[in-house]
């Protein structure tokens, strides 16, 4: 198990990587079966996820609902690409910002009994994201983008 790492490979991408001491089949189930997702993706302390719906097929919808105190927040979206136990590409919108759709990519890799999950959040414009979809990992995510991290360190 390696600790969580978070980087900003481009100005508009956040990438989180974490390894788990479990086979990929199990980690995949924990990410895609509502009864399991509800148990861990609960967010900050005091939050619970009472509702979770996942229709795991391309074009299928999912919805998470979190509650805390008297508050309630949901996230929803659809699956764009699914490669079982390898790759998920989905859209994500939070009900508090209904006009903002983020593209979330999750890559699952098992090696020597450990599974690494890399989650990337693409905040690029829709045009850029569609370009990314057509040619994953090539254009659109060029290193020519100055990283947000550098921008922050130089201005704060």
């Amino acid at each position: 198990m390696t600790p969580l790492s978070m980087t900003t490979p481009t100005d508009t991408t956040i990438e989180i990587t974490r390894s788990f001491n479990a086979p990929v089949s199990m980690v995949w189930r924990a990410h895609t079966e509502p009864d399991l997702v509800k148990q861990w993706m609960t967010g900050p302390p005091g939050h619970t996820m009472p509702e979770c719906e996942i229709d795991l097929r391309v074009g299928g919808a999912y919805r998470y609902v979190w509650v805390w105190d008297d508050n309630r927040m949901s996230a929803y979206g659809t699956f764009r690409e699914i490669e079982v136990e390898r790759w998920l590409l989905l859209t994500e919108t939070f009900d508090i910002f209904p006009d903002n759709e983020t593209l979330v990519e999750q890559v699952f890799r098992e090696r020597e009994g450990q599974t690494t999950v890399t989650m990337s959040l693409h905040y690029d414009s829709k045009e850029t994201r569609d370009g990314v979809l057509q040619s994953p990992m090539k254009e659109g995510l060029e290193a020519s983008y100055q990283s947000l991290e550098r921008l922050i360190s130089e201005t704060v």
């Binding site: 969580l4 788990f20 980690v27 924990a30 861990w40 609960t42 414009s125 921008l151 201005t155 704060v156």
Partner: protein
Amino acid sequence: MTNLDTVFQALSDPTRRAILERLIQGEATVDEISEPFEMSQPSISRHLKVLEQAGLITTRIDGTSRPRRIEPLAFAAIEDWLTRYRAIWHANYERLDDLLEELKQEDDEK
């Protein structure tokens, strides 16, 4: 609270990122900002408006001049958001570790 999506929307355009890189070096007027771009001043002004609405830059009034500058607080807010986001996923994944252990035990019992 900074709406991070608005900020990322503002950052999603290469011209706007170039403008920010220029402003990191110091404040500049619209004329000075426009210079390296093959773009009309009104287009540059529109980009500046987007950056300003996202809270990434501010306008200083200096007589008839309106120099733009980077808003450090906006970047601090982004950093703050990233720190909180990291904490949430750290907690999520710790719970996932526990859940995976339970699943492994269930499998062993079968």
